[in-house]
Amino acid sequence: MAKQQHAESWSNGKSVLRHGDVPFRVGTVVLASCVVGLVIAMGAIMFVSSSEARNAFGWDVLFGQVWNPVVTDVAQPTFGAWPSVRGTLLSSLVAIVIAAPLALGIGIFLAELCPPQLSTPLSFLVELLAAIPSVIYGVWGVFVFVPFFNEVFSKPVSETVGDYIPWLAGPVATGRGIMVTGIVMAIMILPTIASLTRDVLRLVPNTQREAMLAVGATRWETIWLAVVPYARAGVIGAVMLGLGRALGETMAATLLIGNSQRISESLFAPATTAASLVANELTNSVSSLHESALITVAFALFGITLALNLGARLMIWYVDRGMAGGRS
């Protein structure tokens, strides 16, 4: 009987379920399903817990201008997180504007121009930036970077140019605000974008480079006009992932953004971000409506980063498939 099973398994190529295979199969599927279940549970829990605030305010939870959890004799508590949402968007914008070109340059250097002996150690250093916990970025930011940047940039610029350009206006007090948060976040997301860009550029077939060189292009022209365009979907995907990381960043933002609900035009002014709002207030929430509003904000963060990640993965998958399957 056993011999017959042997022969069968060789001849038809399909795996034959043996004794013990069924529990193994079931076990792995169950535990793997925990991952799926976790995601569904997270979405469901946040959806349900946010219902109180959503029913009371609708979209205003995210876009209303006043966030006031306290009952006063003149007003009921209102929960409009726009100052926080705006802070998140602006600081992430600053971060991406700084990080994306730099990371593209780093990816190009590591993939195309770097001497081979240097490429592994340099890649390691760049990836080490990603391993540093975000709270350490916050500590360094508060004690080292913000005072330095204040003296060197924020104060001088806001006192001179700031009179003419509203988003560079002063006064600069502690120096915490959108701009320093954006700069520190840029450093944090650099490695994500850079290593992904480097990987994607390395996948570009060499024939593309040679064809460009053969019509008389310089090294840079080859990179910029043949290699990067070929991989552009992947590069865009890398930037999207970096943006997602910046949007969700909590600790560096909480320590550096200044935590003020006032909306000011200036990038030097203190502000607040969605993530730091949740971190600061959730454990001290004064009412269930307050709590529900905060969870709505967290849910929105979850949804946006999910969408960005999905988009980025699709982009990168598209590049991969195009390179493997299509003609070069």
């Binding site: 099973q5 042997h6 398994s9 043996r18 004794h19 013990g20 295979d21 193994f24 076990g27 792995t28 535990l31 793997a32 925990c34 991952v35 799926v36 995601v39 549970a41 997270m42 829990i45 946040m46 817990s49 730099l102 990371a103 340059g105 780093i106 250097f109 121009l113 340099l122 390691f124 250093l125 760049v126 391993a131 540093i132 916990p133 975000s134 709270v135 350490i136 916050g138 500590v139 360094w140 508060v142 004690f143 080292v144 450093i187 650099l190 310089t218 090294r219 840079w220 969700g248 960043e249 909590t250 600790m251 993530a275 949740v278 971190a279 959730l282 454990t283 967290a298 963060l301 980063t305």
Partner: protein, 329 residues
């Protein structure tokens, strides 16, 4: 040689742009050196034997220890109601300089409670994450052609890409509110959510690297799939899986946001899993926000310990990966 008109311009652009990529790489390396450098130097000054063996005592608790009262624990103001003037002048009631040294910036006590707490909370989180992560990785690798595996992989990506605070929010709602208490277990559960994708992805990739010939040989000998997986495939991939575990630990140890919402923090050494516990990143965060220089020094110290932990883990993983790649060549 007839050069075209724009040739000098093209050459110029070529050199400038290639140089700018070097500058860009510098823009990544310089902050790295700056951050590591500052943490190492400023953090090292906080180190002493006391740092590793003691627990920071806010002045009100030290005073209470001497006169036998029970201090009110207020994490936002450890100096509540104890009569130490905040302008650095000598305390009116003749209390000892040690209690006032927190103004001078010298370290007061240590972060032993944070070290213990980080080890417990992260370790427990890893314990929860390992079975799910490893088996999900096995599933993704050994059954990769099934349609369900795409869904699993997608959910893994969702978990790895979601902000860490979201994990904290979910566990806060699920566990903290329900039990009406902050606890180390809640923190571990939140960290588990963040560590699962790392373990899963590394396990899957390491298992995929095991050559198909091994699986075929095992199958040819008549071994059931589960047997060959556990006795042949996993041992072959084990070093890689271990590096994934180390990376997950390093990542979990550094996370702060989920812990703010689930563990709260503490000023005393505690091993009670169902109560608030201290943790290094939490200490670094709270001591940074503190206006007292002594506590700020402790913040640098906590950052130092955390940084060393993360750096050493990452370097070990790198060395292990490279030596394995070298051995395979």
């Amino acid at each position: 040689m007839n050069t075209t008109n724009n040739y000098r311009w093209r050459k110029f652009v070529d050199q400038i742009m290639r140089g700018s990529t070097i500058v860009a790489t510098g823009c990544a390396v310089i902050p790295l050196i700056a951050i590591i450098g500052y943490v190492l130097t400023l953090g090292a000054s906080a180190l002493s034997v006391q740092f590793f063996t003691d627990v920071y005592q806010p002045p009100n608790m030290a005073k209470a220890a001497t006169d036998g009262t029970t201090p009110a624990f207020d994490p936002n103001d450890p100096f509540a109601g104890i009569g130490i003037p905040t302008d650095g002048s000598a305390p009116a009631d003749g209390s000892t300089p040690a209690e006032a040294s927190v103004y001078a910036g010298g370290p007061v006590g240590g972060v032993l409670h944070g070290i213990i707490g980080t080890l417990i909370i992260t370790g427990m989180g890893l314990l929860f994450a390992l079975p799910i992560g490893v088996f999900a990785g096995i599933y993704l690798s050994e059954f990769r052609n099934e349609r369900y595996s795409t869904i699993v992989r997608f959910c893994c990506d969702v978990l790895s890409g979601s902000p860490s605070i979201v994990a904290g929010v979910v566990i806060y709602v699920l566990v903290v509110i329900r039990n009406k208490e902050f606890s180390a277990v809640a923190g571990s559960l939140a960290l588990m959510i963040l560590m699962i994708p790392i373990v899963t992805r590394t396990t899957e990739e390491m298992l995929k690297l095991v050559p198909e010939s091994m699986r075929e040989a095992a199958r040819g000998l008549g071994a059931p799939t589960w047997y060959s997986t556990f006795t042949v495939i996993i041992p072959a991939a084990l070093p890689g899986i271990v590096t994934g575990v180390m990376l997950a630990f390093a990542r979990g140890a550094g996370e702060t946001a989920p812990l703010i919402l689930t563990v709260l923090g503490s000023n005393v050494i505690s091993t009670d899993l169902f109560a608030p516990m201290a943790s290094l990143p939490l200490l670094a965060y709270r001591y940074t926000e503190s206006p007292y220089p002594g506590e700020n020094t402790l913040a640098w110290g906590s950052a130092f310990v955390l940084m060393m932990l993360v750096l050493i883990m990452n370097i070990l993983v790198r060395v292990a990966t490279r030596s394995r790649a070298g051995a395979n060549r």
